[in-house]
């Protein structure tokens, strides 16, 4: 199935048309097929991560969170359909004019200062070169320089150099060259050809894939020296960057979006049914999960196995009491053991509350969550001919009994035969994730089953399911795919087969299932560094 065809030894090159390709960009391509060339608008977080280093601010200021939020595709907000709509253009313009411009012009004073006797245009040019290279993630072209110099000169007619510098900074921070990272290869490489990305593009793709931030000085230097053509060099850079805080923040966002926890803040529950639920509970549950994810990324090398199977969590007094576990000495958030009925992040109250209804648990939502997010299975929406009425809450019945109708109805059974048994098996947690053995005075039946590639696993209770998922082959295959979607910003395509295979084999090589290993598999792949150039329309 592998489409990859590595270039043959030099002696054979003459007769290997696929390798001769276009050589204006240097070396012949390593593969004969590649994903289409594209541009990606940076996300709000990527904007924040970029700007502060461009303008040499000592700290990152998360200003872009006030901009128009990204929408989600496949659950991820990092997708490649993001655009600069009129609203965002106004917000970017405003932030550059009111916020970053005035700050940057002070931070960068030494960069545009012009010593007496020096030609001011020369000074302006070197300022433009330095600033532009940081912002554009590539060397500044002659056209860039000429246009920005023209802006400098136009402003300079009626204002001081500081004003001219501020205008240039504003321009750079709102320019397309900054706002889009390119995956195009050398320009002028010909249409509809498989080409190498430029060294700077590789550095950018690699850095954003691992940290969600632009290349640092070391990576940029490697690009400038043309060192990013080998998989080993890319791996070394990725492993170095995985240790940064930026990478941990980036991967924390991945886990939150992968598990669909972005909406935790706007959850609402019926207090009559769930007296435990409150704003404070929501905050505590959210903090618990974020702290735990961060711990796994920082101290457990991003091990998905740990994420899914840890026998501890980070709870404050409220969550400790809710779980029925020991408290930290002072009741503030800290590491506490999980009781036997909970295992890993899937049994966190935040996750179980998210996948539940206003006044009850939801076997369907929980089943769909496990199927789509952890097993990468597609669940089609209900057919349009089916009348969907969630069963009413009934004080004389259990949630399981109410929802069983779905599995019994032949029209629904096709999908719900897969969905419901998973969710039924998590019925030992109520709609806010409280452990229960009784519902409405009746015994809870938390027996369930999940179909997988090799057959069917039967279990009782969410903890047993979580334990099984943590060592499931299907999950180990699914996580790299979800990470691929997050990092590459799109759904997988045929051409991505080899790259996904690389990600999966690296990810699974270590039983800890480390996210960083999957990323290494990604950036090592030749498909990561090649694109097919666009065809003229």
């Amino acid at each position: 199935m592998r489409i990859v065809r590595y270039c043959l030894p030099a002696a054979l090159l003459l007769v290997t048309a696929s390798c001769s390709g276009d050589t204006s960009g240097g070396d012949p391509p390593e593969v004969t097929e590649a994903a289409p060339a594209r541009v990606r608008r940076i996300t709000r977080a990527e904007y924040d991560n970029s700007v502060y280093s461009i303008v040499k601010n000592p700290t990152l200021v998360p200003m872009a969170q006030l901009f128009a939020p990204e929408d989600a595709i496949l659950g991820f907000t990092t997708h490649d359909r993001l655009q600069v709509t009129p609203l965002l253009a106004d917000q970017l313009d405003s932030a550059a004019e009111r916020n970053w411009g005035p700050v940057a012009v002070n931070n960068l004073a030494s960069e545009y200062a012009c010593a007496a006797g020096k030609n001011e245009d020369d000074c302006a040019k070197s300022f433009i070169q330095a600033l532009g290279a940081r912002a554009f993630r590539r060397p500044v072209t002659a056209e860039d320089e000429a246009d920005l110099l023209a802006l400098w000169q136009a402003v300079r007619k009626d204002a001081d150099p500081k004003k001219a510098a501020e205008s240039v900074i504003q321009a750079v921070l709102t320019s397309a060259s900054f706002l889009y990272r390119t995956e195009l290869g050398e320009s002028g490489g010909g249409a509809n050809k498989v080409v190498w990305l430029t060294q700077q593009e590789i550095a950018t793709a690699l850095s954003f894939a691992v940290t969600g931030a632009p290349p640092d000085a070391e990576l940029s230097a490697a690009a400038a020296a043309g060192q990013l053509k080998t998989a080993d060099a890319r791996e070394a850079q990725a492993r170095r960057l995985l240790k940064t805080e930026a990478s941990q923040r980036y991967l924390q966002r991945f886990v939150v979006e992968w598990l669909g926890l972005s909406g935790m803040d706007s959850l609402n529950k019926n207090n009559q049914v769930f007296p435990d639920f409150s704003q404070v509970f929501k905050l505590s549950a959210r903090t618990e999960t974020l702290t735990f994810i961060n711990h796994v990324l920082v101290n457990e090398a991003g091990s998905v196995k740990e994420l899914l199977s840890a026998n501890y969590t980070f709870a404050d007094g409220l969550m400790s009491l809710f779980y029925g576990t020991s408290l930290t000495p002072d009741g503030t958030i800290g590491r506490v053991p999980l009781p036997a009925n909970r295992v890993g992040i899937l049994t966190h109250a935040s996750v179980l509350t998210t996948y539940a209804l206003f006044d009850s648990s939801s076997p369907i939502r929980r089943g769909k969550f496990v199927l789509t997010r952890l097993l990468c299975r597609e669940v089609p929406p209900p057919p349009p001919s089916v009348i969907i009425i969630p069963p009413a809450v009934n004080p004389d019945s259990t949630t399981r009994a109410r929802f069983a109708a779905h599995t019994d109805n032949p029209t629904c059974a096709g999908c719900h035969r897969q969905l419901d048994p998973i969710g039924f098996g998590m019925e030992d947690y109520d709609g806010v994730g409280k452990y229960r053995t009784k519902e409405n005075g009746l015994d809870v039946d938390a027996s369930g089953s999940v179909e997988h590639a090799e057959g069917k696993f039967t279990f009782t209770g969410g903890a047993e399911l979580a334990r099984w998922l943590a060592s499931s082959e299907d999950v180990a295959d699914c996580v790299p795919l979800q990470l691929f979607r997050y990092v590459m910003g799109r759904d997988e395509d045929t051409v991505d087969g080899p790259m996904l295979t690389d990600m999966r084999s690296r990810f699974r090589a270590d039983p800890k299932l480390k996210l960083g290993d999957a990323l290494v598999g990604l950036v090592r792949s030749p498909y990561f560094v090649h694109r097919r150039t666009p065809s003229p329309e």
Partner: protein, 478 residues
Amino acid sequence: MLRELSRRSLIKTLAGSAAALPLANLLGTTDAYAQGTTPPMRFIAIFTSHGCLPEYWNPQGGETDFNLDFPNSMLSPLQAHRSKLLVLDGLDYQVLYEHGLTGHEGGPLTFLTGSKVNTASGDDLPENASLDQVLAAQIGGATRFRSLQLNAWEQFGGQHVYNSISFTPNGGRVPFERDPAGVYQRLFGNAPSPTSDPGENALALARRRSLLDYLVKDATRLRNRLAGPERQKLETHLESLRDIERRLGSLGTSPTPSQEPVPAEAACSGGTAPPGYDLGQLGNLDNMPTLTKLHMDLIVRAFACDLTRVVTMTIPGPSMPWLGIHEDTHNDLAHRLDVTAEPLRSEIRGKMVKVQRWYAEQVAYLMNGLASVQEGSGTALDNTLILWGNELGDASGHMNVRVPTVLAGGAAGKFRMGRFLRLRPAGSNPLNNWGGPGTPLTGAVAHNKLLVSIAQAFGVNVNTFGHPDFKGPLSGLT
């Protein structure tokens, strides 16, 4: 034939052509026409969710003598505006049945696009731009903002699919604003301070022009290296830059809302900014009624100042604690309307009436606001077409047929308002003989036709909107 050509239809026929204005004068039109300042026509799309109870939602009575004032009437808050309503019964999201997905995700997606659901991206997206974006391209260019996208309260977070009704030509979601203070700042906040030096203002303007020159050149260079959908991204970017460019130099103004109709020029002066809300407050459901009204006030101000002519607004409502409705409006009310056990049945249906009435009250509030702005011999409401739509028809079954739809406002005379129009025979249900996904939904009235009618009313020369299967305008509107 010639005798039937009324003055109104003659003007309409000629609208947009160079001949329209002089001829309008000859026919003895209003002061505004005579002065050559035809009030602009505006479009507002309002989207609410949960479907309805048709027997309480539809007016009683006939086409022109319809009545909204009866027990459990969901539209009763609009009774005072009935002469400016065109209530449509029997409009179907036919495209969803004949071309793939229906249900929740299909409704908001096709409401303004007329598109089927395309899942090629891995998510549910349409295949073409929404009506507001098409109208914005057609009529928005004369104003500082081609269109505004507002959302009173964001359900689910993360610009969830359920909140998006506005789409770019490549099917991307147009982000919406949910902070009224942010909207105000964008609309009015960039005006030079009254005390600033005019000379310095002129220099600042010149600097901005030089800056934009660079931005356009830079984006154009990148665009020229791209093809297909990638090129489209930069086209959208360039349009956004042109929007900023167009606004340069036009003076900012701040409005004063007024209870009594006041001339647009007067309505567009003074005024205060809405209070600031932080992200937590914007996400607090209790604030939703206030946020809804603040957004609507801003629509009125923006129209009074002619800052934009196209607006979309989503008003969700997962529960409505201010009405004493603490349950999940959608799952616990809308989907349980056909519960048969009493008194539960009456209780659920009574709450659904309250929910829908609340939405109708918001539409009435917006109409009152627009009616307070005098334009020519009428008001801004006379020159506005509001399209109020929904994602579901009969809520209990997720049905996308018989979707409750109201046209409101004067529509600048393009549509005959003050009517209740049954688009297909009462009691007919195209689902009765439907063969399943991909087969024809016989007897349905495609909502694409309504989109065509509205597009045409705004001078867009199209005969289809969205999916090409559905041709022509909706009959009976004009």
